[in-house]
């Protein structure tokens, strides 16, 4: 997951802070990925597993076009197109062929594994060198990478704020919020689901293209677990946003916190790696983080009202009554 991070060895505070900037840059890229995931996970209420494949697709397409001499921005634009198509396919599998949401995503994701290999001439890994190619973003210059990442994230947040405030965007949100009501208002919910999935995967592919340039290679497995990392960013961002600004956030503010969530997530990764956690255990660690964050709201509600508690209360009342 990036050679820079692996250099943070030795429990030396200097080393830790030294690797923070690179961690921030990677965090922003995952944050951009999480913006895409936010569309399906929060707005459409659709757990879309396509993204693991699309992230790699974005990387593969971008790197291959860069090697063919393309301008990096144009290459990323094509990557977005590839992501849009992938999302459409998941959407069509679900809405036109009646395949359950999660399975639709898994099918597209798995097929993308082969397609991504095919894009990279059947190689699992393709490098792109910053010294031979013009890149939009590279780990060789961390400050400018952070700046570029922040600018891209800001533009995307502005675009999403606008789009989801339009008639069409609000129809997508309505579809996720209440499909029955949406149909009654004349919204074609199947079309909106396909549209939302396409936009989401377009953004994910874009972030894959950015990540491939940053790390200097595209790998067929670079998207593995992307959905969990994206969820981590979304959830951490929401928790932080609510804690710091007490739910006064508007939509753009919430999106900004999703990107911040990506940064925080990645800095945590930097810290655990600095503490000599074996990098192979990272996916386990990430899953545990997400599971804990998803479980907290549920457990909190449980602690207020649960059968166990009701049972205990009943026993206590009975004892009190017996005493009287």
């Amino acid at each position: 997951m990036g050679t820079i991070i692996l250099q943070a060895s030795g429990l030396n505070i200097g080393n830790l802070f030294g690797s923070f900037p690179a961690g921030i840059a990677q965090g922003i890229i995952w944050g951009i990925m999480a913006l895409g995931l936010y569309i399906t996970f929060r707005l459409l209420d659709f757990a879309d597993l396509t993204v693991d494949g699309t992230f790699s697709t974005g990387g593969a397409v971008t790197v291959m076009l860069l090697l063919a001499g393309w301008n990096p921005w144009l290459a990323m634009l094509v990557a977005v197109g590839a992501g849009l198509i992938s999302g459409c396919i998941t959407g069509l599998l679900h809405t036109r062929l009646g395949i359950p949401a999660i399975l639709s995503g898994i099918l597209t994701q798995l097929s993308l594994y082969s397609i991504n290999l095919a894009i990279m001439d059947m190689k699992a890994n393709t490098a792109v060198s910053a010294s031979k190619t013009t890149l939009a973003i590279t780990s060789r210059s961390i400050p400018s990478a952070i700046l570029t990442g922040v600018i891209i994230a800001a533009v995307l947040i502005a675009a999403m704020y606008w789009y989801f405030g339009t008639e069409q965007g609000s129809a997508i949100r309505a579809t996720g919020s209440n499909p029955e009501m949406s149909k009654a208002q004349g919204i074609d919910i199947n079309r909106m689901k396909v549209l939302g999935l396409a936009l989401s995967n377009g953004l994910v592919a874009l972030s894959g293209g950015i990540m491939a340039q940053f790390q200097g290679f595209a790998d067929v497995g670079m998207g593995r677990g992307a959905i969990v990392i994206g969820l981590a960013a979304v959830i951490i961002g929401e928790v932080l946003g609510d804690a710091l600004l007490a739910k006064k956030l508007n939509f753009a503010g919430r999106l900004a916190f999703v990107v911040i969530g990506g940064i925080v997530y990645y800095l945590v990764i930097v810290i655990v790696l600095w503490m000599k956690l074996n990098p192979n255990l990272l996916k386990l660690f990430t899953s545990i983080i997400v599971a804990v964050f998803l479980a907290v709201p549920y457990l909190r509600a449980e602690s207020k009202a649960s059968f166990k508690k009701a049972g205990r209360n009943a026993v206590r009342r009975q004892k009190e009554a017996d005493h009287d």
Partner: protein, 268 residues
């Protein structure tokens, strides 16, 4: 007078060919004139909600045709009929999007059946218009335009759904036991509001209800359904003078059944 709704020889069977086969609508015919406020009663499984869902386009009918204000909608799914129809559901949660703001919900409704493009979802004039409309509900909602609808009570949400159904004047308003989930006091308020909105906008409305007294008190026409057919159709003065007892007797006459078991369902 124009015919606002024409149901011609409608048949609908659920789970055909299985042990659960249910002939829900059998050769159903109904004509509603412009301005009709029709109340529909009948026991469980009589076909009231099935008829309403057939009109709304929740699923296709097996046979027959459905025409709304001169447009044959038999082959159109619900979202394509939505430009003609306003709907209020039994469950107050169904008619509004809980995670969206009150004004966003109203804006969605005022674009019912229109193309949704890349224009901003609400204009300033619309917001003012919504504020005025909400004032007429007399629930204090005009000051809560940006509140999430999920924060409103069931009664408030039904009132908002009613307003949404009428913002963009529908050819037909479908009310599916829309007060059944509310407490009696709130139910009364929502029913009175229903009458107000229907008469103010001169709407044509179909209201399914379990409550015989409501069915008699509201609207200008009443039909009773039994086993997928209309067994009783009464309007005007005759309807006004109707009593619950008379209605129950009619039910016995036509169905040839004791109403002992149905009586509990057709609550007075």
């Amino acid at each position: 007078m124009t015919d606002m709704l024409v149901l011609k020889n409608i048949h609908k069977t659920f789970n055909p060919g299985t042990i659960n086969e249910k002939k829900a609508l059998i050769n159903l015919n109904l004509v509603m004139e412009e301005g009709d406020f029709l109340t529909v009663i009948g026991g469980n499984g009589a076909g009231k909600s099935t008829m309403l869902n057939a009109v709304a386009g929740v699923w296709p009918v097996d046979e027959g045709s459905i025409t709304i204000a001169g447009t044959d909608v038999t082959g159109l799914p619900d979202y394509k009929r939505a430009s003609l129809i306003g709907r209020v559901f039994q469950d107050p949660m169904t008619g509004t999007a809980a995670s969206m703001q009150l004004e966003e919900n109203l804006a969605l409704a005022s674009r019912r059946g229109k193309k949704r493009g890349l224009a901003w979802q609400i204009s300033k004039e619309e917001r003012e218009h919504y504020r005025e409309e909400l004032k007429t509900l007399d629930l204090g909602l005009e000051d809560r335009l940006t509140a999430k609808v999920g924060l409103l009570s069931g009664g408030q949400r039904q009132a908002v759904t009613l307003l949404m159904a009428s913002l963009q004047k529908p050819k037909l308003l479908l009310l599916d036991e829309h007060t059944a989930a509310l407490d009696p006091k709130t139910a009364k308020k929502v029913l009175d509001l229903t009458e107000k909105i229907v008469s103010r906008n001169n709407l044509t409305a179909m209201m399914v209800t379990h409550n015989m007294r409501d069915a008699i008190a509201y609207g200008n026409r009443l039909i009773m359904m039994y086993e997928g057919q209309i067994i009783f159709d009464i309007r005007g003065e005759e309807k006004k003078n109707l009593t619950v007892e008379e209605l129950l007797r009619k039910f016995e006459d036509v169905s040839g059944e004791e109403f002992a078991d149905e009586k509990s369902l057709l609550s007075k």
